[in-house]
Amino acid sequence: MAESRPELLDLARRVVGWARDGEQVEAYVSSAREVEVRAYEGEVESLSSADSAGAGIRVVTGNRQGFAYAGSLDEAVLEETLAEARDNAAFATPDEHVGLAQPDGVEAAALELWRDGLAGVSSARKVELALELERRVRAADPRVRGVRVAEYADAQVEAAVASTAGIAVSSRRTACNLAAMALAEERGETQTGYGLSVGRDLADLDVERAAVDAVERATRLLGSRKAPSARVTVVLDPRVTATLLSILGGTLSGEAVLKGRSLFADRLGEQVGVPALTLVEDPTDPRAYRASTHDGEGLACRRNVLLADGVLQGFLWDSYSARRAGSASTGSALRGGFKGTPHVGCRALALPPGPHSPQEVLALVGQGLFVQAVSGVHSGVNPISGDFSVGAEGLMVRGGELAEPVREVTIASTLQRMLQRVVAVADDLEFLPSSAAGSTVAIADVSLGGT
């Protein structure tokens, strides 16, 4: 496991060099080194260390695409994988728009997403962080009865993509995080709260904040009950907003538009949201957790404005969908590691900060429901029809302040209506381990389902 790897870009280029005449070949090669430490009751519950690497190969021949991957960087295996991808291409329906990304001259942002320091951190230090996190969660409040999760995790990821179209880029990044789930109990009732801290190396991590966040979120829900069904204004916690933006991002994919699966397909240039709403996708913002210099096809990532003052400005494209739509790639191809082919997706959505603090947003709303967490997003939000219905827990807002806790309720609306009912966006932009950053957002006219 310790031996050095062949340079990834060299390897990707070598695979591309095996292309036959008239054949387009793209090789995506990646490797990752990951460590995860879990603490439980003052002991290390587990310490996992992992090295993994692999390659995904696309072949385009006669307007048909084939793909194959292997969890190995062995050249003989990659030769077989290329042959398999070539064989697979024969079964696709010919499509004149199929093809690899063509270099478009857009310069990649100079982002430093790699920290040398992370590689030098000892396992002992990582263990200590996980133990300290657990200790602080337990010590923060007498009502903390247990810690379901207290973990430290990090990753050093390198990737390269090369193609016969002239793409040859590589990138690397580091990431680390602390996560805790506190269990608080009072009078036989249990509540949970999740806290986290993320960064690129240890200096970015804040153990106290992760611990306090987990504990506060659990304890403030103690004594919660169902609320009566009503039409309310909801104030979304930044994490909930990030979840909502990620779903919204999916509806603005050019691929969804082309294939008749976007509720915004015919609405370019229209006022789809309130004028206070601007939505930007900017993977070149180094603060974004999924910031990246290049997209999954090797084109430069770039800043894309999706909504400006509530008006729909455009969609996101990868090279295939752009070619089909007669548009240009927005550098928005994502890859789920070496096992997947590129598809359109978001990395770094954010709402530019509004003029109010979160407290001012609560005051502005007066009466409503502050939503701390939602559940059932995958089952309850239909990004094609726009129907939105999720489980929620949080605190009632009364007189502009947080009041009694609420659990086991649902909140429902449609994505279309929610954009038109945004009351305020706060100034507390927070970068989260997600494809979107979050901020406190108030949305009116939402159905609360309870008793």
Partner: protein
């Protein structure tokens, strides 16, 4: 997959730093998938992934390392890394004697690798035609085919040596229909732990028409109500509700961390006497069926709740060792890159005696859920949600108007107590279960049942 002598030496290396327990898990996975979208076969993909994970346990600490290098030196390095992570007290050479377990999953009648890719791709177009033929309002169709063959070897310092060969095949269709009210969706999946013989049992055209009909029906759907109502859940996908409402809370790892509302409740009446709940990794060819779990333990049929009384939890090896009992065959992992934990296999509620139509007739007002689309639970509080992807109003004992998608929310123990009717029409469906970032195939099932009160999260007045 790996010679027995090599396995013994790798386990020996893992125990060198004084581990109480060591395990080697080797996996070789191959698969083919094909997708049709927008009328075109977009792509056929194939993949191969293999490697090994080594786990060493010292006291309450587990060290784990994995490698894609299956040579003896690669395996030994992983073993040493896992042993270093667990750092036992005393060292010393220990010999491990292995006993091979004879149990294996039923071989596929038609192994997927023996079927030409053209034969797999042809299914996609047939489903696309059938779905589009179901109505002019069908605007988009996505069809997916995938097969996988997963060979595993598990050996541990208790002397276990087990191997399995698990073949799975899946076919799914999703449709988008367009109408005056916007876009609506419908999907249908067939997935079994079998080879290409899946298509002797499942007609892809039929599957496609069912997905299309669901999207078309919803074009005239009205917003779901909001508030507390009686809910009748149709046979099959309602198993998802059992999985979320109760299954996760009976996983011993969560129970032992006091993260479950069912902790300390064995012997208690936790559900309506109509409820008998089982987790069964041997159930037919279901999606969660396999012979040997990822810790080398044969799967079995485990009764969790009997006539409403909690009888047992589900166990993996580590949790069971601590309690001085046997694993229940529920130790699973997504791949060799993951540590095993307690997971469900096929989890279901057994048949009752009532006629499902009669259950609806005896419900004056409520919601009839024909298909569920997944869910989520907080095991510590028991609160769970699941999505309705095909649902109707029940008015005067009759299923009437279709409803738009919405979530239902409930509390597991509450819902189990409020089941007041169980039908005799048991069936199962395939699903994917996620826990702590790992996904595994599971099955779930139930007969038609009624819950007297659940909260539905629609936008219309209750």
């Amino acid at each position: 997959m790996i010679e027995e002598a090599v396995v013994r030496r790798v386990l020996g290396a893992a125990l060198l730093t004084g581990g109480d327990f060591a395990e080697l898990f080797v996996e070789d996975r191959r698969g083919v998938s094909a997708a049709l979208d927008d009328g075109r076969v977009e792509q056929v993909s194939s993949g191969r992934d293999r490697g090994a994970g080594v786990r060493v346990v010292v006291g309450d600490t587990t060290g784990f390392a994995h490698t894609a290098e299956l040579s003896e030196s690669g395996l030994r390095q992983a073993a040493e890394a896992a042993a270093a992570a667990a750092r036992g007290g005393g060292g010393g050479v220990r010999e491990v004697a292995l006993t091979r377990r004879p149990v294996r999953s039923r071989p596929a009648a038609v192994p997927p690798e023996t079927v030409a890719k053209a034969g797999k791709v042809e299914l996609l177009a047939r489903a696309d035609d059938a779905a589009r033929g179901a109505g002019g309002a069908i605007r988009q169709v996505t069809v997916g085919y995938s097969d996988s063959r997963r060979r595993i070897l598990v050996a541990n310092s208790d002397g276990v040596l087990a191997e399995d060969d698990q073949v799975r095949t899946r076919f799914s269709v999703s449709c988008v229909a367009a109408g005056d009210t916007g876009l609506q969706t419908g999907y249908q999946t067939a997935a079994l732990t079998v080879g290409f013989e899946l298509f002797d049992r499942v007609e892809v055209e039929d599957l496609a028409r069912r997905a299309a009909r669901r999207a078309l029906t919803k074009l005239s759907a009205r917003p779901a109500p909001s508030g507390v109502v009686p809910v009748v859940v149709a046979s099959g996908s309602g198993g998802m509700m059992i999985h979320e409402a109760c299954g996760h809370g009976l996983e011993a790892d969560l129970v032992k961390k006091a993260s479950s509302v069912y902790a300390g409740r064995v012997g208690d009446q936790v559900a309506s006497p109509l409820v008998t709940m089982v987790d069964d990794g041997t159930l037919g060819d279901d999606w969660g069926t396999f012979a040997v779990d990822d810790e080398g333990r044969p799967t079995g049929r485990n009764v969790l709740i009997n006539d409403g009384v909690l009888t047992d939890y589900m166990w993996d090896l580590l949790r069971a060792r601590k309690e001085g009992r046997e694993s229940s065959g529920n130790g699973r992992r997504e791949s060799y890159q993951h540590l095993p934990m307690v997971r469900m296999t096929n989890t279901y509620l057994v048949n009752g005696t009532e006629d499902p139509d009669e259950i609806v007739r005896q419900t004056p007002h409520g919601i009839y859920v024909a298909q569920l689309g997944g869910g989520q639970v907080n095991t510590a509080t028991g609160d769970f949600v699941f999505g309705m992807t095909e649902a109707y109003l029940i008015e005067h004992g009759r299923v009437t108007e279709p409803l738009r998608d919405a979530n239902l929310i409930g509390n597991g123990p509450d819902v189990l107590r409020h089941i007041d009717a169980v039908g005799n029409d048991f069936s199962t469906i395939p699903g994917t279960c996620g826990k702590d970032g790992q996904s595994v195939p599971v099955g779930c099932g139930q007969p038609t049942l009624r819950v007297t009160q659940m909260t539905v999260g629609g936008t219309a007045g209750g």
